[in-house]
Symmetry: C2
Subunit: 234 residues, 2 copies
């Protein structure tokens, strides 16, 4: 085992974006006397995520921070989810729910164990400020924050994975990508990174149809961050 650094997908792999938004939406419903469908809001918001990044990956749009993309998508779907007519400060705070996502129960205990042996960083399409504030709130024990923002790109663009290895001053073979998404691991693997699949079968809710199993033979496949720590003898 020559791996020195573990880099983690965050949305879905480390944190439960869907459950977190559902929980906050219940609060927004009470605060603003609305009847917000939290699950519907979370799913619709997330559905706009990849298409918004694809505009940038394709070169049709210059690099734009994820907070801005999230806000554009929120503005678009707000009328469908009882969020019309809220003031700017309220909408800005709702948009920052992506900074306040809760980790899966195994994430913090698993990362704490892994941190004793490896350098740990997110490698996310979330921005540096988002990832930093999320980690501070949730207690994610990162050694450093790595984000597509640092390379003005969005996974699965190669420059994000290669940029992370370069900043860590490691060959890609000493960096392992940890993700619940086969596409993320496929892109990392092609560039020489090691790979660990984390099974998150309810990231998209009880009816999830994607990423229910490894699509290739990754270096590791586990059910939790604690299982990853077990596997890597941490």
């Amino acid at each position: 085992m020559e791996v020195e650094a573990l880099v983690f997908d965050v949305f879905g792999t480390c944190v439960d974006w869907r459950g977190s938004i559902i929980r906050e939406a219940a609060r927004w419903s009470r605060q603003h006397a609305r009847n917000i469908d939290g699950a519907g809001l979370a799913d619709a918001w997330r559905a706009g995520y990849d298409p918004a990044m694809e505009e940038i990956r394709s070169g049709r749009r210059g690099f734009t921070p994820l907070d801005t993309l999230h806000r554009e998508n929120l503005n678009r779907i707000a009328p469908n989810f009882g969020l019309s007519g809220l003031d700017e400060a309220t909408l800005a705070n709702i948009n920052r729910v992506w900074h306040r996502l809760d980790p899966w129960p195994d994430t913090v205990p698993g990362l704490r164990r892994l941190r004793a042996k490896f350098l740990l960083a997110p490698l996310s399409n979330g921005g540096v400020a988002l990832l930093t504030r999320m980690a501070k709130r949730a207690g994610l024990p990162w050694d450093l924050i790595l984000s597509g923002e640092l390379f003005e790109g969005y996974k699965p663009e190669s420059k994000v994975y290669l940029g992370a290895a370069r900043l860590l001053d490691l060959p890609s073979s000493k960096v392992m990508m940890v993700a619940a998404h086969n596409g993320d691991l496929a892109a990392a693997s092609k560039l020489g990174l090691r790979t660990a699949f984390v099974h998150r079968p309810t990231e998209y809710g009880p009816a999830q149809t994607t990423d229910l199993a490894p699509s290739q033979k990754w270096d590791y496949a586990v059910d939790s961050m604690e299982a990853l720590a077990d596997t890597l003898a941490c």
Copy 2:
């Protein structure tokens, strides 16, 4: 007090580079049966630091990581300090002493207190990998690693301070530069950052002549990181 993030100079402000090199040099002397003048080596090595960066700041040379600059300077001074004829792995390890610098005694306890109230990051001319490994070894509790490397620049270039505020998604007025060097604070202050001077009168040894006192009225001037935590009510 509207500051949300504290960014720290590292070499001299958080860690004692001179004492650390002297301590390691004593070990190298024993290991390689040499008689290395550790203080002389530390001072000569550090004397090459700013001139090497100035080649890049001036545009005469493209951005080059600090590890490379340190190694070039080591190669130049090695014959004067009993370091000739060592093999490549040994020299590479000696060069990485800059990744293994020890904190001043007040640094870790002070940062731990400050971290409860503020986002904390280094903002150093050391590279991301250097700062990450130093923090892991020394227990520096950063929330994220910020480095001139992320902006392909070296302090006091404006792009380093402005880039840090941008990645933090904060106006510069909500970021405070903490440094033992008046020049660093002067550059930060001109760009709207808040400033805290930390008195490190023996950074350059007992005969230090520079930065013995604040050169301007900075927002704060303290004798240690614990005093900074006291002052900021952490």
